[in-house]
Symmetry: C2
Subunit: 204 residues, 2 copies
């Protein structure tokens, strides 16, 4: 019996997840068939079911993968010396995601599915907490280093940032006249002023 090359295994898994994300963003979770994912990924349905026993397993893997990437990104930001720039860069990434139709739709599809499915909700809430805890750790570190000078309690500053992040993704979805890239300069200036960020320059 042939054993599967681990690299090939990882590549196939990644191709299936990428294809699933594209399909989910295009037609929504419920209107996406496993056949469409197979076709997009260029794999047989036998291969797909070898990795994922059901469409729900694919959905969960997509959310899990996004949470893992978010965790890696926050971990990387926390290693930085200049945490106020790290915070503004994090908002920059949100603006980029909001400007990308596929990414934005995927995030809202996951949020919508979370209202219908408890397992998706649990994973999505974990991702939400990871982001909130990450922002709290970044802000705490920045405050300790004198890079921000918060005028409100830290937990409220975190919730304010979560509101702004939600709002960016939501407005980009409902308002065709809203271009996240065009809001960037003003938004960073506003957040800097709102949180009294005394250092930090994501363009440095």
């Amino acid at each position: 019996m042939r054993t599967l090359d681990p690299d090939k295994h990882a590549l196939q898994l990644e191709a299936i997840l990428e294809a699933a994300k594209t399909c989910f963003a295009r037609t929504g979770f419920h209107k996406t068939s496993t056949e469409a994912i197979c076709s997009e990924a260029g794999v047989s349905s036998g291969k797909l079911f070898h990795y994922f026993p059901s469409k729900k397993a694919i959905i969960l893997a997509v959310v899990h993968e996004q949470t893992r990437q978010l965790g890696d990104y926050i971990g990387e930001l926390l290693q930085r010396e200049d945490l106020s720039t790290a915070l503004l860069e994090c908002l920059d990434v949100i603006l980029l995601l909001a400007g990308n139709t596929t990414e934005r739709r995927l995030i809202l599809e996951i949020a919508a599915e979370a209202t219908r499915d408890g397992d998706v909700a649990a994973l999505n809430t974990a991702g939400d907490r990871l982001l909130a805890d990450g922002l709290a750790a970044i802000l705490r570190g920045a405050a300790m280093r004198g890079q921000v000078s918060l005028i409100i309690p830290l937990e409220h500053a975190v919730r304010f940032l979560m509101i702004v992040i939600d709002g960016i993704l939501y407005r980009a979805s409902i308002d065709a006249g809203f271009d996240p890239a065009k809001e960037r300069a003003s938004l960073l200036t506003t957040i800097r002023s709102a949180l009294r960020i005394v250092e930090g320059d994501p363009d440095a």
Copy 2:
């Protein structure tokens, strides 16, 4: 032939719209039957259809009524001498709406329906523009009177406020741990700092 008392007419219409809002918030537009609205309003189906030929006509009337109320409210705010307090009070109203399950669900139901129905979308977009234009007029007046000292262009400040409003309503919907009333003090402080509001006190 009896003529309908105009006051009674207005009261019946209002009762039907209030009942429809309650039902739509409780079960969503699509799962709400006209029978449920009749039962909630305490009117016969004949009476309901006398006012509204279809469920969609009720939905449109609800959105139209909300837009009318919003327009009245903004018109009233614009009469104030202290426009920076008016602006913060407007955010206060959003926090109140976000804390009210029925109002919050209704707003998100309308937004969801707008993605599916062009007529609802047109009315909803008109309401969205009314709010954005109202915030712009309030900010412009406040700036002229020296009550705010904007550090970003006015149109970006308006979009920032729209993002914050969207974010408050969205987060209140998805995060059971988010209590809009508890965020009030910090949020108003943050907005004050973000927009360099030099006067204004909604508790005055």
